[in-house]
Each structure stands twice: as structure tokens, then as C-alpha cells.
Subunit: 231 residues, 2 copies
């Protein structure tokens, strides 16, 4: 390999697209930005940026996330790479897509340097996007759904303290089908949750108990037994 003049290959750039998913009002949503420059001016798009010459991919994804939301220490997952030669009108740009889960209520995304506008859009209602971002988005959403089945990433979207109904409704939205309440509770019997004394407030019916995910307990459980998260 590398039989041909080496230098003619070093003419490409790569970018990282960083999808954020959150959960509010019973819907899983993705963060979109409205582009404020050409190409695709005024189109909705996935936040992303070129990777610096001496930057690792994960590093770039974290930088973009930090710039956009102020958050660091968020679990980033690499999804897929897209490299159609004509996908970017200004040159050869291969993009690597990442995604992360955040609590929508917990932060204000800074649109400033990125776009005029940002918006949380339900993943079942994604509009037409810039570049090949619809392909990237739909591919990544499928991956997200798959990971929701086998990894406890839903808790990164749910509020720190949540009701079992909120937990259930998240999966109902993801799978796009109603689930039986009683059976759902049986299914999650093995998921390490911490029950709080605290209850829902300001609701006009019997308030539900609040739970949070016992992350440490989960880790040791995975390591010591052959438990596997499964929904």
C-alpha cells in the first residue's frame, strides 16, 4: 500500500458532527442549529466543526460540545463516518458523527458563535437539513435506539430524579409503542435504582415516588455478575 505519490493524498479535511439528544415533554429531541453562513445558509444542521490538525477526534467532539453547551464530562459516543466525495461543496470533508445525551433543562445552549438560532426537535420530526445531515441524523438515531436497549444511557437524558412513568414514557417514545405499566416495572426490577423519600410535587393527582439511577451500583453489578442492562 501507499504505492502512489504520498503527498497527493494529503488534501482532505475532516470534521466532527456532534449530535445532542435530550428528553422533554415525553419526547426525545435532537439539538439543531440554524446555519448563519454559506453554504446552506439558513438551513437547519447538526452542530459540527472541522478537526484541528493536531487534535484527536474525541477531543474535537468534546471541544464542540463544550463550545456549544458549556458542558464537559459528558459521555460521548462515536457513531459513524460519512465520506461521500461530494458531500461538502467546498472540498473533500469526511465527517465523523458523535452523539451525547444531556438534560435539556440543565443548560442553555449558546447559539452565539454557531448560529442565529438553535432548537430542540423531536427525533420523529426532523426537518430537511444541510449537507447530508439527514442521512447522518437518521443513521445516528437508529444507533441511539439500539443503544437504549442495551446500555443505561437513558438516565443521561432523564432528570436526576425521575418517576417510573417518565422512565417508561421515554421508552414508549423511542420504540413508538405503548408499554404495559405493570410489566415495565417488573422488567426494571434488576436495574439498580435508588428510591427517594421525596415525591412529585405540584401535580393534581397522587404524586409518584422519585428515583435516581445508582450508577456506581450498576458498575459493580456489571463487573461482578454477568448482569446486562436490557430493555
Amino acid at each position: 500500500m501507499y504505492r502512489i505519490n504520498f503527498n497527493e493524498f494529503f488534501t482532505s479535511a475532516f470534521s466532527v458532527d456532534c449530535m445532542l439528544f435530550g428528553y422533554s415533554q415525553g419526547q426525545i429531541k435532537a439539538l439543531l442549529i440554524k446555519r448563519a453562513m454559506e453554504p446552506y445558509n439558513n438551513f437547519w444542521a447538526i452542530p459540527g466543526d472541522l478537526v484541528y490538525p493536531d487534535e484527536d477526534l474525541d477531543e474535537a467532539a468534546n471541544r464542540i460540545l463544550k463550545d456549544l453547551t458549556g458542558l464537559s464530562d459528558v459521555g460521548l459516543h462515536q457513531a459513524q463516518s460519512f465520506g461521500h466525495p461530494k458531500r461538502h461543496p467546498q472540498g473533500r470533508v469526511v465527517t465523523v458523527s458523535y452523539f451525547a445525551m444531556v438534560r435539556i433543562e440543565d443548560f442553555n445552549a449558546k447559539a452565539s458563535s454557531w448560529a442565529d438560532e438553535i432548537s430542540w426537535v423531536p427525533i420523529h420530526n426532523i426537518p430537511v437539513l444541510a449537507f447530508d445531515h439527514n442521512l447522518i441524523m437518521s443513521t445516528t438515531i437508529e444507533l441511539l435506539k439500539q443503544k437504549l436497549r442495551v446500555e443505561p444511557i437513558c438516565f443521561d437524558m432523564l432528570p436526576d430524579r425521575f418517576t417510573l412513568n417518565e422512565f417508561q414514557q421515554l421508552y414508549e417514545y423511542a420504540y413508538n409503542q405503548p408499554l404495559d405499566k405493570a410489566n415495565f416495572r417488573k422488567k426494571i426490577k434488576h436495574v439498580p435504582l435508588l428510591a427517594h423519600d421525596e415525591k412529585q410535587k405540584m401535580v393534581k393527582h397522587r404524586p409518584a415516588k422519585l428515583f435516581s439511577f445508582a450508577k456506581e451500583e450498576y458498575k459493580t453489578k456489571v463487573e461482578t455478575s454477568d448482569y446486562q442492562f436490557k430493555m
Copy 2:
């Protein structure tokens, strides 16, 4: 985004690493090549090549596969991308790893233009490799194992006609644990297999029936019912 001088970013190259997995003598094996040039001369490595300027990633992976094995129309799966700035000593090269399953007996890999030597190595005994190929390999093997659980890709490694024991032993090797013969057969009751009249020959014991995977039947089953392959 793209706030900085656009052109200084177009100084990178892309490569595609193409892992081949096969199954023989009760072991899942990966194809390695022995490099015949610097850097990492004489190291074992994953077959790969730079991506041409006007080539899509999938296209490049298919080209490499064809060059190396003569095979086309093989199901290629994108695994992950690796982009540490120093991973390649001769410049910034981001690599996208792919993998595919083949029947080891069915072809002779052409080492000629690629390397002095090629070798099928059991995935549980991978030696020290060139570049960051050990990282790529182990990451991809994990992904392979996961996909074996939920997609019928094992049949791309098994011979066209196989015994149920061969089928079972593949999973025993992948999961690294023995499985109960009777229970295994119950578990695969729903996998669409075609039973042949033909039997094993040249064995010094009762010959086993031969089966093959009913691909078309599988497809319609997935489309029409909510069946999911699961091991």
C-alpha cells in the same frame, strides 16, 4: 463554524482498514498481512489503504477487499474511526475500519501486491501489530461479537452447508463458553434453516445432517413479522 482559513485544514489523508474474519478449525480468525515496507516493516498489520480523493469510504473498502481477495459482493460493515494525531508517522491519517466475513476455504488471498505473507490468526491470539492496529483490532472484535448476537452474520463465515455442531461451536468460541447442545437446538428453532438430505462424509462416527441458512426466508420473516435474530 469554518471561521479559520479554510485551506489549512485540507492537509490530511484518510485510510480504510479492512478486517476479514473467517471460521476454521473451531476458531474465528482474522486475516493479517506482514508489511513489506516502512514504516513498521515486517510487522503484522490489518490490510488497509489510503482512500482516493474522489472515492467514497465504502467504495474504498470494497476496492481493498477486491484487491486482496478477489471477492466482491461481500457484506461490509463499518466499525469505527481512529484519528489520533500521531497514529501515523508520516502525516495525519484518519482511518475508518471496516470488517467483513468470508469463508476461509473459498478463496486464496493474494498477498502479492500487499505483503510478503498473510495469515489467518485466531481472534483470541492477536500478536503485536503495526501502528495502532491492536486498538483497532480489539475494538472491532468486540463489535463483531456484539453483531453476532443480533445479526445472522455467522453464516457468512460458515461453509455453505454446515452441521448444527459447527454452528454451535462458532458461538462457543465467540462467547468463550460451552453451550448445552440440546438447548442450543431449541434456541435456533426460529432461525430459518434449510435442512438437506445430504450428510457429513468421511467422519468416523454418525454423520450429522447438513443445513444452510435460508437467507430469503429470513428477510421476509424480518419484514413481515417482528422476528429478531438473537443468540
